[in-house]
């Protein structure tokens, strides 16, 4: 009886703080997901404390300096200035928070297996420092069963608290799409998967403070599967179109033209475009979290596996395209100057995570090509294999000097006509030269 009362009181207390906006929200990880979310809550007058292991990011927040493209500089400055948002590297201050939202990375290790160390570390910190009656929400993409099967026991053990009575868990997948001008954190519908009805009720109340449309589902596992399904859909369609692009190259069919024509079908088709490979922090990773957990159920996800095989080979196949283009001029990659245009994983963003461009650059460098790049958004990069490059100015003399120009990203501010006019051989992996007829020098994917 008294236990029931305590449970009610924690829940009612938390719902009350949400209702009167006196709640303090802790956000673990102030990156591409955490910072936009923190600003979204803070803009509504909620007191947000960001936890960040990187002191440099904390210092930037202290100064009101923005470092995430999807966040408006003025928004960040304003919420820091009015003290709605502050940041700390001291995770013991989790004890101040009524709700904790986890936005840490969930990368794959070198063997393409889930690296759960960030979530594990976050759960240990939360369990160690949290007060009773807290909602803990995970936003990081991970395999279904993580929230209930992985997080819950760690937090319960570290805190000595019981889920459903002294704290609540929820999985609510982030849907950040870097560079999307229309859909930002606040106006993108958000799926909520609380562990139990109370958790769902509290999580919906909390997120309603910052986000317009919420869509509760029956369990964290369903919500975890939602995010993976969304990105598995993208992975397999991009891989399919990349594979068909390679065939079209052999058959002398312009797949870009084919896709535009297929788009005239008014139902049952969504266009995906070929390119040098998948990139970013979602599509190359999320489906493999599902492939991983499936093994635990004696199940092989063959579509994801096959898509992964195609993707693994794309940088190599693109290097062969560069090789073939140079071969036309009786040149080898060894000793050739190869200029890559765009290293971001998609157009008009400053993010080169998992970008196929970097992998192609490594492969060309290993064949003793002289690698250079230009990207208006990314001043310097370090490749997967540790090579360091700085973005060069895109001058006419540079274009004339190099043996081969490779479009690896189709940033919209590239002056493609001028590039085609000045450059010798062009390998176009993004249809950047669409509509420009110069068959002799353009070598298209």
């Amino acid at each position: 009886m008294s236990k029931g009362n305590i449970k009610m009181s924690y829940k009612d207390t938390l719902l009350g703080k949400i209702k009167d906006k006196s709640i303090k929200v802790g956000i673990l990880g102030l990156g591409y997901v955490g910072l936009p979310l923190a600003v979204s809550f803070a803009k509504k007058g909620i007191n947000v404390l960001g936890f960040e292991k990187a002191p440099k990011k904390k210092e930037k927040i202290d100064k009101g300096i923005n470092y995430i493209a999807d966040v408006e500089d003025a928004d960040l400055a304003k919420v820091v200035n009015d003290k709605s948002l502050s940041a700390t590297t001291d995770f013991s201050r989790i004890s101040e928070c009524d709700a904790v939202i986890v936005c840490v990375p969930t990368p794959l290790d070198k063997f393409k297996k889930p690296d759960m160390t960030y979530i594990e570390s976050a759960c240990n910190d939360i369990g160690k420092y949290m007060k009773k009656g807290v909602l803990v929400s995970l936003e990081s993409t991970t395999y279904p069963t993580t929230t209930e099967g992985f997080m819950r026991p760690i937090i319960e053990k570290a805190s000595g608290c019981k889920h459903g009575e002294e704290f609540w868990l929820c999985f609510s997948p982030e849907r950040v799409d870097p560079g999307n001008e229309e859909y930002k954190t606040e106006n993108t519908p958000k799926v909520i998967g609380g562990l139990g009805k109370d958790a769902n009720e509290i999580a919906v109340a909390l997120y309603s403070l910052a986000i317009k449309t919420l869509y509760p589902v029956s369990s964290p596992a369903a919500a975890e599967m939602v995010k993976i399904l969304e990105n598995t859909y993208r992975l397999i369609n991009i891989s399919m179109i990349n594979e068909i692009a390679l065939l079209c190259g052999k058959m002398d069919i312009d797949l870009w033209e084919v896709i535009e024509a297929a788009k005239t079908k008014p139902y049952g088709f969504q266009a995906f475009y070929p390119g040098p490979g998948i990139g970013g922090h979602c599509i190359p990773l999320d489906p493999f979290y599902l492939e991983h957990i499936a093994k635990n159920y004696q199940f092989d996800l063959t579509m994801i596996h096959t898509a992964g095989q195609i993707d693994n080979l794309m940088p190599h196949r693109m290097t062969i395209k560069i090789n073939s283009a140079l071969n036309r001029q009786k040149k080898a990659i060894n000793g050739a100057k190869v200029l890559f245009l765009g290293v971001a994983y998609k157009p008009d963003i400053d993010d080169e995570r998992q970008s196929p461009a970097l992998k192609i650059m490594d492969e060309v460098a290993k064949k003793n090509g002289i690698v250079m790049y230009h990207d208006p958004y990314i001043p310097e990069i370090t490749t997967d294999e540790g090579r360091e490059y700085k973005s060069l100015d895109l001058t006419d003399s540079l274009l004339k000097e190099v043996d081969c120009v490779v479009f690896t990203t189709n940033h919209s501010d590239f002056d493609v006509k001028n590039i085609v006019a000045k450059a010798g051989i062009i390998v176009d992996l993004r249809n950047a030269t669409d509509g420009i007829v110069d068959g002799d020098k353009i070598y298209k994917l």
Copy 2:
């Protein structure tokens, strides 16, 4: 010079007949594609002569009796009555036609290889009987290069005529979607791939008589690829979702709920739903035409291949689901009465071609299950293995009598609530019982 004049004159003559609507259009094959197209032309006052090897179909046309669900009965009766449309089994009458449109089947043989005999036979008939100055258009889905590489030499040899001077070839893929109430032949944009500029010009002029929106591409091969891309997209997405559905069964996650939640993402996602397997005359076939021709370019299409593997196994996996459901009641398939609801390959149509239901019925019958079915649209069927069944009346006593009811098609006029109330064990492969909570008797995919 005179040669040039002759060429001009054939082309001009044909364009003139199109312009003043005095053209006679021959359509080879009066099935799901040919008959709606024939009626579309005839409705515009064009003289259409349908060629059909099956005398029964010809006789029905003679009497103005419709046999294709997507054609309006009144439309057919009207165009037959006003003599715009007539049919014949005499292919020598191809000589009367100014344009010939080929709508013959392109099935796969038992080894899943393209069966080109229908196209070959049509080309031989055309070459043998056609007059000079004719446009020949193929609508049947086939592998890229068919029109130029397969049809052209057969017709040139059989006719002694030269392409581009004495006749023209075009590929224009059908986009018939049986049961689609919104998009019919006339208002679905149509891709046109003429072999050369003259062929494109003539084909666009011809099809404009019957179809609202045309989209010309640069070659027949591009147009051939368009259709295959559209259906490959569907194949790989259905296969992906079917594979994930099987995993979700093991993980106790409701994939139907997950899909509804994923649909709240306002960009970059299109929902596909799991089911007992792919069916119909397009998705199970078209991608394998591409897989076939790819081998000729030393290329393996691994995504299509993997999707095919999943699909091949679906009927077997669904039989195992039926087995598991019966096992709950300590029953074996051997001797059990299994009632299949819906044998059409998709809801609310009368087409059971390639339907997965038939394959599951064969497998259950082989295990000595007592197979029955009800389908309001299909009174009788013959399975792939030659078993013959007639649709039973769906009475309450039948529902109570059988050991297991299987939803293989979700026809919208099924009274699902009553079926659930009366039946014992239900295996729901289509989420027909969505929202009906009766966990003990419903066994969902």
